[in-house]
């Protein structure tokens, strides 16, 4: 994934946590069932 996209995603979540706690809490709740699994890089 392009680094600019990673950077944007990190910035948006951090800003949401600070500026809109309700939306942040909803996002965390919405994703609570997701399970992180790290896989080998492709290529």
């Amino acid at each position: 994934m392009p680094i600019e996209e990673i950077r944007r995603a990190v910035r948006e979540v951090k800003e949401m946590r600070k500026k809109d706690p309700a939306a942040y809490a909803a996002m965390v709740k919405r994703n609570a069932h997701r399970k992180i699994r790290i896989v080998p890089d492709r290529g």
Binding site: I6, R8, E12, K14, R17, V28, R34, K35, I36, V39
Partner: protein, 207 residues
Amino acid sequence: MTSRKRSFRESVFINCPFDDDYEPIFRAIVFTVSLCGFVPRTTLEHDDASQVRIEKIYRLIGSSALGIHDVSRTEPDAENQLPRFNMPLELGVSLGAKRFGAGKHRSKRCLVLDRDRYRFQKFISDIAGQDIKSHGNNPETAIRVVRDWLRNAVDHARIPGGSHLWAKYRQFTEDLTGMCEKGQLTPEHLTFTDFYQFVLEWISPVR
């Protein structure tokens, strides 16, 4: 681009199981190594697909001054009813590089992790005398153990305390699935490089 130079002195080879049960500890170790200013190196990282796996391991060990070796996965696997020997093998390669290698390889440092403190004596007693710690299958304990080892292994000014690291890691973990959502990435198939870039960006000062 956020990246870190993979210098020998700051590279930390992480030799551990890659299964669902170990996943929380693996993420905690990668986060801790990164936040302490080092570069986590693992066989999950991108490489030439045609490269023989053991050659990739030799290259990673050869280019890392530090190594974290988890030997906790000793149970037979469900499919073959045999234990995995890869982690002890890679620990042996690291110890051999330090013992028989020349120059910088003599300065290698290894941390051996197991789930209980003295359990290793029952199955790999020859490593007695190494730096062996237990994480109790607990990410918080893993963070503190790895942090303390890095602090003692090198004189590095950027290493924060264990409580600070744990608090940061908990926040990062809470943010991570949201960051995947924003980036349209599937958390269940997050490549190592994407995860590492999330870590690096998240711990970087606000741009």
